[in-house]
């Protein structure tokens, strides 16, 4: 088991990067070099120095501190999004895939309709109705993610429901709910894990995109997307700002992407 894990280089590197990012995010909750929102007018757009390892932004806030706390926000939003998507997607996918028939057709066509919309546009609609903010962004993105998970899980349940061991579970007198969630669900974990990893990436990007547009996480909360959009104006004066923030996003996504690919390969 351990050997196999080390051998699968993608999985290994992905796990290491993700582990470091998660650690940094957790550390950012308890400790940052400076208060992420404290402004120091004398250090406006300060360059990289020992005092400010990644420099300061246009308000004189320490970028490293803001990245550390922003990482937490971004991850929290992404995790919440994935959780909502997977939870409801699995339930919908389980019932439609297992029972099939007309409800399946209706729900899946509705799914197709939702998928056909550009997701950012739909998120914009949600936000303009519910108002901006961390929680609303999470809910909006989570709802948007439900259809794609539902479709993947539906496929898995469809595949599993005619297998012999499901048939023998039915023969033991197990109820449909028990068959779905006790017998079939554990068999979908592999697919579920890699879609979760991909979904996490999409959620990070979507959150960054929405914050970039100014409808995501609201100031003074820091988030990676928000910081990137702020860094844009100073791209030529202080390129370090954009590079550091961008690198954080890239690493976060790279870690999860490699993790998901590694998981798929391990199958």
């Amino acid at each position: 088991m351990k050997k196999r894990f080390m051998k699968n280089r993608r999985l290994f590197i992905g796990a290491v990067i993700t582990g470091i990012m998660v650690l940094l995010a957790v550390a950012g909750v308890f400790f940052t070099p400076y208060d992420p929102n404290a402004m120091d007018t004398s250090a406006k757009l300060a360059g990289i120095s020992l005092k400010h390892l990644m420099g300061c932004d246009n308000f004189g806030r320490d970028i490293l501190s803001r990245i550390l706390s922003g990482l937490g926000t971004t991850m929290l939003v992404a995790l919440g999004t994935v959780f909502i998507g997977v939870f409801f997607g699995t339930i919908i996918g389980a019932f439609t895939g297992y029972y099939g028939g007309i409800p399946d057709e209706v729900l899946m066509r509705f799914n197709d309709a939702v998928l056909a919309f550009p997701s950012l546009l739909l998120a914009l609609v949600f936000i303009s109705v519910m108002g901006a903010g961390k929680l609303n962004v999470t809910i909006a993105l989570g709802i948007l993610f439900i259809p794609s998970y539902a479709r993947i899980m539906r496929g898995e349940f469809l595949r599993c429901k005619n297998l012999d061991y499901v048939r023998s579970a039915r023969l033991m007198g197990a109820s449909d709910i028990r068959i779905m969630f006790v017998h079939i669900l554990p068999n979908t974990v592999q697919v579920m894990l890699s879609t979760i990893a991909i979904g996490f990436n999409n959620a990070v990007l979507a959150e960054a995109g929405m914050s970039y547009l100014g409808i995501g996480v609201q100031p003074p909360d820091s988030s990676l997307g928000r910081m990137l959009s702020e860094a844009q104006s100073y791209l030529f004066i202080r390129p370090g700002y954009a590079v550091c923030t961008g690198t954080a996003i890239v690493l976060l996504i790279l870690g999860f992407a490699m993790l998901s690919e590694g998981l798929e390969k391990n199958a």
């Binding site: 012999d164 061991y165 048939r167 579970a169 007198g173 197990a174 109820s175 017998h183 554990p186």
Partner: protein
Amino acid sequence: MLDVIDLNIEFHDHLTPETVVYDFDLHLDEGEIVGIVGESGSGKSMSALAIAGLLSRKHMKKRGQILFDGVDLLTCSRNVLRKYQGNDICMVFQEPMTSLNPVKRIGWQVGESLRIHTSLSEEQIKEKVLKILKDVELDDPEGVYDKYPHELSGGMRQRVMIAAALVCDPKILIADEPTTALDVTVQAQIIRLLKRINKKTGTAILFISHDLSVVRKLCGRVLVMYQGRIVESGDVNEVFDSPKEDYTKRLISAIPKMEKLKYEQ
């Protein structure tokens, strides 16, 4: 105990309905071993699946009656049917490689029927599972209990399947070609095991096979099926020694025999 009367099975998932079993009749008493033989596609597995209640109610039309202790399994509600499944009627499939859930431990899977049908505590279930694993003559019940299906050989898995089927002391065990996927020595062991279980617990066995010699060794009565109909039935020795129907004669003459070859030379 089990009476199947005039069972007809029709497929309705295509444009034209197709009948695969005609006027199937069967009577099974407690402790009896009845064999069903016939070539592939003769409807023997279909009849068995119908008795086990595994055929879709939507896509397959069934006429006739399957009476188990007086209750018609074809028309009773799903909940009533579920009460019998696993508790009174059990089935062992042909393919031991795919019949076990790959992500669950053996002990859990064997105990599943108990968990569904009884209110025993986890310790009591474990005790019973270990006992039944021992009864099906697995060498190391405690070791097998914590293993996953991929760690077992085909013969061991088939034993586990039989254990899972028998854990609730069912009245009927339907064995759908349980030995086809196994090699000959393991086949013989499984047959002996079935016979012993039948004697010990009085579980009636409906044994489906196209291996005539196995049927002759194991069963008391036999039904011969051909193209969805029962063409001949009766005592196993009578049917095999003096077959009346043309199809049965041809089926029996298809068994390769050493003596016959020598005789011809």
